[in-house]
Symmetry: C2
Subunit: 532 residues, 2 copies
């Protein structure tokens, strides 16, 4: 339920009111006051929910999204049972991690009851997501909720319409039950804002959950939701997915409808934010995308292309009719990924084609695209509530680009995209078949500790995808093993086995290498990304 | 062949050199000095070519694009014969109408010979456009030609690469033989510039051929080319198509590759120019689009969507499996089309659904999008050569939009597009089937006389499509009959039959009505447009 607070109240009061209203409407038995949020506790809290959930709730929340729609269809559980199990687990998650902004339990419960009644009476599911609880990043507008986008200025403003995606998911039977925390204006790789503060990683609460879609990431990491909706402008779906060992999809623009979602820098089209699913299995991502695309989102969002689900393309990848050709870029020549990331890439064992994109160029273009307004839009929004500047951006004092400068940037972006297309075409083998996908790290760091992000921030591996508008999916591979994933030698020229590695290319490169400590990072997920 | 002139020469010398070099390389027997350009001659010149062409040339140039590839495939004519016939006719057209900027006869002839040899030796056509002569608006870059985009500043600059579309057409077997005249910077509805001046309409040389793709329009109108490539930002394909009775397609963005074409205001993405075909039959447009889409342009142009040719959609429209539902907007509430346009719309006799788009809103958005740089880009380009200002734009003295203003405009455009999508959805009948297409005038005027355009300029009917990024196709219907297409009564409230008509809504509306004179307009084409 939205916060009951005057829009004219001081920002601190609005923030406090918001924090206190997150659980409004949630049954008291789901709220365990004994649990408290920590950001300095290095232990995993992944097992904490099992101390509070019933066996039935545990059994439900152990399922992935595909499993959930299946057990509802088979009448093993009702939509209400499933909703309650996940609400309970998500409430625990929020107590531990500070990952949620608003539960909409009453509305969700009524929807779940309606779905159960419909199924009972007609024997028919309303759609492919019948009864699936979904958590959404706090950019999705839902009638009767509030949508902050991480800004205090939006606390207390009640939505009067749904985002197009929300309509589609609800029509397909999804039960959107909670809105999740995000970085201020979706513009930072840690989940932090003045609305409710920052969010911890369930694998290790002294670590960040990543961002900007970090609330979804943390919630899914502890299985408090079987499916989440995030958004990605420079890695905001993929970083939290990587840091929580999730499958996260950054679609190309024009596939999943963004219309009527709230964002910062709205109207900036040089590089555009996209919305996509995060979940626990590739089949779950498929379920989401197929459902949304089959709903013909282009009939409601003018930016969506009339591009149906392409079963033959899907089969080409999944049915294994022919061997895939996989480009691999384990190092971009700028920032060397930390040892666990490198070793897992090499161990993947695919038929490999060498591949390298000019990530320096991509990053320069992306940075210009994301800072072209001299932070004017951001400053305008924080001024509306008087909330303090978190100082998370570059170029805050620079003047905005002129229109002609911005047009020149659009042309440069086009040329870069075209050059990479030709580079891709040039990987063709003797049969004319180019690489199908390429594999890279998500981030050079496994995961940053709270507050470390500023020091190890490198968007090369994620942001290149945004600059190119490619489709990318995170692939959770394994976990850091502190016994085997040893730090590089201190000379900066050899890894732990004594093999040569490239010398540090920059202070940032050096800082990221030095930041890795196996004894601290042990147990955190290691995730790669696949792009096509 | 490009103009041999120093880039530093005064603009008058560069312009003169360009005019004198249009025919460079064209065999002298195709150039008939007895013919001369006129812009004050009210008679039709459509029959003039028949006085100069051989029977074989007449027979070839009477064919439409589909017919031409068929007679080449059947070996009735060679590619060289076809090229020569159209070059001859196009040379006559240029003498009469001033519609061409550069013939590339030598290169085209070598390509045609190569195609003939290939077919002779292998028995195989190189592609679906094997031997088809195509004329292109002077925005298409072709190695070894020059591409002016209507600016003197580009005279003498030789292209070193092909536009992506040019590559695709050539690979499919097309023989691009001539580049056609256009308005300065593609930004005006008459074809006029300081490079070679203005172009006349072959139906009546005292009339404009329209613009900005007017050179293609005039050339196709007199059958000097079986297929032309134009571009459209506010009606630049459809106006010349209408004024010459042609089929002209304005595709949505992302279908036909624009990459590496020259344009003005490059990088402006609020409303984007698109490239599309103009021809003599719908089958010819289909041949063009199917060929381009089948070539997978998205592998080379990052702005193209991976959207294959959708045969089932095509069949739905053409195979007549079910009756089409056609929206009709004969009047937008602002500017009443002239009598011949109105009467032909009513006579179309389809099952009609009333339809009205807010063209005032569309036009306001489009105007802001096209003038947002305060004409900065245009002024910069004309300053490069010192050519005089033709004063064809609004807001020349206004300051450019800021980036934040421009972003707000992008959002307004999105909202407008979304509102029209919902309006479209709301036309659904009891089976849930909305209108398939809608039909409107192209322009309220049949066609303007030279110099009249400024007085009767109204982009509502064409520009709305650009603002919405819909696909639109002109449909030539008939010709003005001065005996039956009578002017409205002088009271402004009744048509010639005495039936009531809406009173003039504005000075422009009144001016357009008064501009119509059946005795002057007799014989000009009447064309509608179909949008989907």
């Amino acid at each position: 339920m939205p916060t009951k607070i005057s829009l004219g109240a001081p920002w601190q009061e609005r923030s406090t009111a918001k924090k206190n209203s997150v659980f409004d409407g949630v049954p008291f038995q789901f709220i365990h006051s004994v649990l408290e949020f920590r950001d300095d506790d290095a232990s995993s809290v992944l097992d904490v929910p099992s101390r509070f959930l019933s066996l039935e709730e545990l059994s439900i929340t152990a399922l992935n999204a595909v499993g959930i729609v299946r057990v509802i269809a088979s009448k093993k559980y009702t939509c209400v049972q499933v909703l309650d199990a996940f609400t309970h687990r998500a409430a625990i998650a929020h107590r531990l991690l500070n990952c949620c902004l608003e539960f909409r339990y009453d509305a969700a419960h009524a929807e779940a009851e309606r779905l159960d009644r419909h199924y009972e009476e007609t024997g028919k599911l309303v759609g492919p997501l019948h009864g699936l609880p979904i958590s959404v990043k706090d950019q999705c507008r839902i009638i009767g909720t509030e949508t902050t986008c991480g800004f205090v200025a939006n606390v207390g403003v009640v939505d009067t319409e749904n985002s197009v995606l929300v309509d589609i998911l609800m029509r397909a039977g999804a039960v959107i039950f909670v809105k999740t925390n995000l970085s201020i204006g979706c513009s930072w790789g840690e989940t932090i804002n003045n609305v409710i503060g920052h969010t911890s990683n369930p694998f290790n609460r002294s670590f960040s959950c990543g961002g900007s879609s970090g609330g979804v990431g943390a919630l899914l990491g502890i299985h408090g939701s079987p499916m989440g909706v995030g958004s990605d402008l420079g890695g905001s779906i993929r970083s939290p997915s990587a840091y929580q060992g999730l499958w996260g999809l950054r679609p190309s623009t024009g596939r999943i409808p963004y219309y009527k979602m709230l964002n910062s820098m709205e109207g900036n089209e040089i590089v555009e934010s996209v919305v996509g699913p995060m979940s626990h299995s590739p089949e779950s991502l498929e379920l989401f995308v197929r459902t949304v695309v089959d709903s013909q989102p282009w009939l409601h969002d003018p930016k969506c292309h009339p591009l149906p689900w392409r079963e033959h393309e899907f089969q080409k990848i999944t049915a294994g009719g022919r061997k895939l050709r996989i480009g691999v870029m384990s190092w971009d020549g700028c920032v060397l990924p930390q040892p666990p990331v490198v070793s897992k890439l090499e161990a993947a064992g695919h038929e490999v084609v060498p591949w390298k994109v000019d990530q320096t160029k991509a990053l320069a273009l992306l940075t210009r695209a994301l800072t072209c307004d001299g932070r004017g839009d951001h400053d305008r929004t924080i001024a509306r509530s008087g909330e303090p500047d978190l100082n998370l951006f570059f170029r805050s004092s620079q003047s905005p680009d002129t229109l002609l400068e911005n047009w020149a940037l659009a042309m440069e972006r086009n040329d870069f995209r075209a050059s990479v297309l030709e580079q891709w075409n040039a990987t063709a083998d003797e049969n004319g078949v180019p690489i199908d996908v390429y594999l890279t790290p998500v981030n050079p760091s496994v995961c940053p500790k709270h507050g470390d992000y500023k020091r190890v921030r490198y968007l090369g591996y994620t942001g290149t995808v945004n600059c190119l508008d490619f489709t990318a999916c995170t692939v959770p591979v394994t976990f850091v093993d502190e016994e085997t994933d040893l730090a590089d030698a201190e000379d900066g020229k050899h890894d732990a086995r004594g093999d040569e590695i490239p010398e540090p290319q920059s202070d940032l490169d050096r800082a990221i290498r030095e930041n890795y400590r196996p004894e601290i990072y042990g147990g955190l997920p290691v995730t790669l990304q696949r792009k096509s």
